[in-house]
Symmetry: none
Subunit: 205 residues, 4 copies
């Protein structure tokens, strides 16, 4: 009746991933997780010392990657020169290798970290993520069109970017060309942003 430690640990992590994903940390039930993993609450505590420890086991790596991202903001700016490229196709080709390095970060557990961590010590990550992009958007907007009158759009577009990333992660299972979709989405954000800023360089022929 005994399972090798790693097996059950993995089962617990898998069950927890689903449960946290469906209900969020606070509404998730340890009872439901252990039931799904085929064990008992008592035994659960041989594997994880608390509910939060289980969540942490799921998101720790993602959180480290998250902090690396936050600390290397210049990387996000690297495709900056693209803003002067008129050709959408060229954009795609140049964005591809850049996002290749980012894609492995955008997985389900990253989603838990950003979108399902209320009640844990990771609760504020989404806000940090939003603000991180908001600063960049505000900066870009000021440089491209200092007269653009709708300041709150910086915040809103940043949230759009974050929401979009999370949405894509959510549907990643059912998407074939996951990588391409991320590229398309970034392109969508870039073009839309430039559009409302009235920049006409893009799509000129």
């Amino acid at each position: 009746m005994q399972i090798k430690k790693e097996d059950l640990r993995t089962k617990l992590l898998d069950a927890a991933e689903k449960e946290f994903y469906m209900k969020g940390f606070e509404k998730a039930s340890i009872r439901a997780i252990v039931k799904a993993a085929g064990t008992t609450t008592g035994n659960y505590y041989n594997y994880f010392e608390s509910k939060e420890a289980l969540f942490e086991a799921l998101v720790l790596e993602s959180d480290q990657a998250f902090h690396v991202m936050m600390d290397h903001e210049e990387a996000i700016d690297r495709p900056d020169d693209l803003w002067h490229t008129p050709d959408v196709h060229a954009w795609r080709e140049q964005l591809k290798p850049f996002f290749k390095t980012l894609l492995p970060v955008f997985n389900r557990r990253f989603y838990l970290l950003i979108a399902r961590s209320e009640g844990t010590k990771y609760a504020g990550r989404r806000e940090v993520f939003n603000r991180f992009f908001a600063e960049h958007f505000i900066d870009h907007m000021a440089r491209f069109n200092p007269d653009y009158p709708y300041a709150p759009m910086g915040t809103i577009l940043a949230k759009q970017l974050v929401d979009g990333i999370l949405n894509i992660i959510e549907s990643a299972d059912t998407i074939d060309a996951y990588e391409d979709i991320v590229i398309e989405f970034i392109l969508f954000i870039a073009i839309g942003t430039m559009g409302i800023l009235q920049r006409k360089e893009l799509s000129h022929d």
Copy 2:
């Protein structure tokens, strides 16, 4: 120390609006609501027969408006002719009167209906909303560029639209030019969408 019935009912609704907004239906606490409204749990049940009934009282109107929206899809398509307008400024002017009629619907209680209703019978509204727009996006994409290869973008862009509307409602309190922001956001979505579809009509001069 009895209060006129309507007064307390209103206080309960206001307190509930805040609580549901902050925590969502399931994590919201009736105790916290009645405390904020200055009454007791016992008395609460003279006004609403359950936790869900209180939520329903808040969102019922919004839900009716939501269904009207869902049933009059052609309204959403009305700005369709804009897609051929090359001028962003013209877009803004034409979108304005159209969204004037929609804005009163996009209030806090609509937000509760779409984004805080998990655990109630309204739980699926967001999904309906998403799908509603997804169909339109897919349709537009097919018409504008039948060869565009990234089908899942329809779903994603629809979610972007819904997320954006909800984000704007969330920050409506702190935004001056609420209406203009909605227009800017729609514009952003439209331009971005056309951009990835490679349509070059817009912003041509």
Copy 3:
């Protein structure tokens, strides 16, 4: 089926007093207390917000009295002149009015505070109590017989005093002449202490 609030509160306090007395704070069971008081755990939390709050409700007054005692050390020293009185009977008469003021403090709840508070924020009271008396004993011993070689006796006699007070409180229910017994006990401590210190003034005729 409903009891007036104060009634059940009193029942809970009584039941808790017994349970804490028998098992100490940590081993005491809320379930056992509420069962003895004839209610449910859910209802218990309408009366006290935690296990510790219940304990605190029992000992708060005693703790205040305890601090008054600790802050008025000179009162403890007041019978100091007695040490030169040779007559045990005179001691009794002089101690009586002095301890009259102290006796109401030495009740069952004081016992809980000193001897059953491990696991609560009151955990250290017994040690404070011991040290308080130890200092006095050490002081007295130095003055009465600077050459007495067994220094640790100060600590031990202080503990004897504290233990004795607690023992008397424990058996107070079954004792007729509670007040007199306290006097006899203090006398016992005083005479014993002087005896080992080799002071011969007492009981001389």
Copy 4:
């Protein structure tokens, strides 16, 4: 990494002695004991069949010595003739050899037996110990002063004796002249008792 059976058994006993001493039988944790002994809970049950069996292994010898003591009450009475000796110094000298035989009994495990056995079958030992001395005190009191009116003092003084012995054992580690302190303490009890009984023989010159 197997250890010779006796080694680990000893380690478990040592760890248990500390744990039971610190927390008492019921609050002691097997997990903590096995961890301190460097083994696992499973292995623990190769050495002791239950929590109580471990406690029993610790106190069995002490309990036998305890019963010997209880059965040879006349030994306790042997210093009886001292009660007529007027000289404290003489008391000390005569008590010394007598208690030499008793001291080895008063060790840490004896302390566990008397003061940390609640929840085990040894739970009542302290009460037996108290009663044992109480009978002697009552007896002495009746013989020395048949008119002494405070009967409960017998019980209280017996408890004082027991408490004192336990207190001294507790602090034995930090005391130099352990044996002398026991003598001083007995003397303290004897003189204090005689004092309240109004016997004036002692300390007369």
